[in-house]
Amino acid sequence: MDQLDLTIRIAGENGEGVLTVGDVLAEALARSGLHIYTFKNLPAEIKGGASMTQVRVQDTPVRSPGDALDILMVWNQENYDIHVGEVKPSGVVIFDPDECEADESLALTQIAVPLQKITKTVIKTMKSKNVLAFGILTTFLGIPVEAAKQMVAESRWGRRKEFLESNINALKQAYIYVADNDIDLGLSVPVNQRNGHAQLIMTGNDALCMGALAAGCRYYAGYPITPASDVMETLAKAMPRVGGVLMQTEDEIAAITASIGASFTGAKVMTATAGPGLSLMVEALGLATMEEIPMVVVDVQRGGPSTGMPTKTEQSDLNLAIYGAHGEAPRIVIAATNTEDCFYTAVKAFNLAEKYQTPVIMLSDQHLSQRAQVMSRPDLSRIEIVERKQPEVNGSVSPQEFDRYEMTDDYVSPMPLPGRHGQHYVATGLEHDEHAHIDYSPEAHIRMTEKRHQKIESAVNEPGFVQRYGAEDAQLGLIGWGSSEGPILEALDRTLAKGYKVAALIFKMLQPLPEKEARAFIESIPVVSVVELNASGQFANYLQGRLAVSLKRFNIITGLPFKAGDIEEYIEGVLQYG
């Protein structure tokens, strides 16, 4: 094995504990200096239903959930039947022979481990079945028992002292069982001490929260919704530690208007939601555009439409993010690509909001938000933080003379803050003039419409929101946005390695659209295809609308993230058969 790359899946009944096994394994491997990427697929019910968790481990950063499985552990028949088809020919299935029957016709290594029976008869504490399963996996991975013990001790299992003894016993029994039965997969995953300070294990939502706080977010209002609730829950704990305020409001409309109120006073504000909440917020988003109020709205996309598939992933809220609101209500829309990027994109979202005095929608999605990845600890001293343009404090301009919506060169006007500046004004969602006075004249509407549009359009010059990868002389170009970056780049590397001439262009800014880069890419490559997790090709349509070009599309709507293999296959298909 030159490059470590294992994909391990654990599947069982929801609520039984498979998720914990996956979480602890991922954390333990990450703490051992390896890179991990998790992937869960859960039912929407609180308990019951087939659920699975997957860990992909590499010694370099992982970019996608993994294709076929190297190791599958299933706890019952239902899950065996669901997942066994995804195991690699060289892969291993671990199953509980008392709970399920293996299909002997399959050309796979299938290893029976009576998890339930060992727990019942040997360990005698049913709670410790998880640890037994964990131990089976660590021993298969070639992790020494002492290292595994430390992993358990440092895990959430270790924190529950009353079960520690039986848990350590369970781990031991795992190693004993494997040794007794002479099982050896020949793996030896290296476990070293990671530099805890330099490397963090986070989900996308975790990283986003930390980025927001680093950018100066000190007010958050939100309403729970899967898969965005984590953001609020993480901040409920963290926000008071930095002196900020977090409010759980009665609905999303209250959340966004409370955020507008807070931003009006100068606070950096955020709210996070998923599709149904974003739908409810669009009226107030238009207000924020009209009153030129900075704010960050995070949309953690999930399967739609309507209540849809709350625990599945999709990139199908793009249309709403760009176009959602009556009238002409431009706003900035950006998307994060991976866990680490969630941190930096959150920082940029605040900077853009403050700089352009506008709402910024930051798109994430269920998979990106909830999977765990390893990332380098951000160096906070090197992060640029943008502050809002404001009038002079104690400036002498009277409120009667002051123009809140002054026409400046960059269309951004100094914003007085209550309690701070004597230039009080009345912000209104009605059309107004420079002085913020209500004005429905054609002239005022034309001027202010231009101000609102130009301000946003000029944000296209911000660096770092679009990136080209791959062959200069590509025959096929892939365009992606947000969280499909990882699988696209992995597929790119694989196909480049096979000699295909491919390139990719990844967008993190969607509105305003980096047209120059888009056009240069599209015009330089014979075939260009837009790769996204939605049915209608929302970004493809949007690109065509802006650029008047014709694009191919590759869309998947399974509720699951792209695998690198999906895209690899697509590339080969297009280039081989046109």
Binding site: G196, P240, I260, L380
Partner: protein, 315 residues
Amino acid sequence: MAEVRTADAEKTGTTERSGDEGRVVKRKLKDYRSEVKPTWCPGCGDFGVLAALQRALAERDLDPKDVVIVSGIGCSGRLPEFVNAYGLHVVHGRALPAAQGVKAANPDLTVIAVGGDGDGFAIGGGHVPHAVRRNQDITYIVMDNQVYGLTKGQPSPSTPTGMQALRRSVSMPKMAPYEGVLEGQLNILAMVIVYGCSFVARTFSSQATEMAKTIGRGLDHPGFAFVHAMSPCPTFYNTYDPWKESFMPLPEGWDTGDRIKAIDMAMEEVGDGVFHSGVFFQEEYRTYTDKLQDVYTKAYGDEQATIDALMDQYA
């Protein structure tokens, strides 16, 4: 007149001006008048509410830069425009959430939310209980004309059941041309008390001094103060005459500390065809801001956490 600010005034947000002889002169009502002339119909009750609010602000000599008036949409929602202070005119029905955001982000500001009966109890009705639950120090003035003024005369949640085009001066026939309004009338004052509001009062735009006093008490109350400001719409539902008759002060010696009695009074007066004015209920609870102080004490004690420290949990 030159402005003189003491360091202290700067901090507390009050500004004082020196008169010609160097005397300190407090702000007057006219200092709270903006350059925008009210666009309301002649005779609109909202003029009375505006003046009463301006007077209450003047009596407290608040610096306009420290006052934020938040409103939704409606004739009444235009009020902030006419006051010389910060204003935040949001979308229909959302004055309260916006006001809560303002107050939460800067508790030093004097925050006043204003709006109509429709804005507050139709589209915005879902926010009221929750604003009350948070008990921030916000004064919420509902200008109740029992009609949708701005959209030209549709019935509102507080329109009496059966109301239709009965009298010439009442022009609410369109929406209820046969049997009048079929829906029950909400008792918004009683509702707010039941929500747990810490200050609940009623007042009438035609009783100027009284109204300024009541709004003032609301401003002084540390917590969420609800002022039910009856304010007729002569254009679409002229209730001046009946309301002048039915308004009366709360009984002499009214105990503002008894929530249950306050509810009973608010429920019973309807049957009696009476509107009581005055403070129905007042009690001081800890405000949201007070409670947040406790949270901060637990969350970080003396010194706020650094972001780096927060990230340690992911290491």
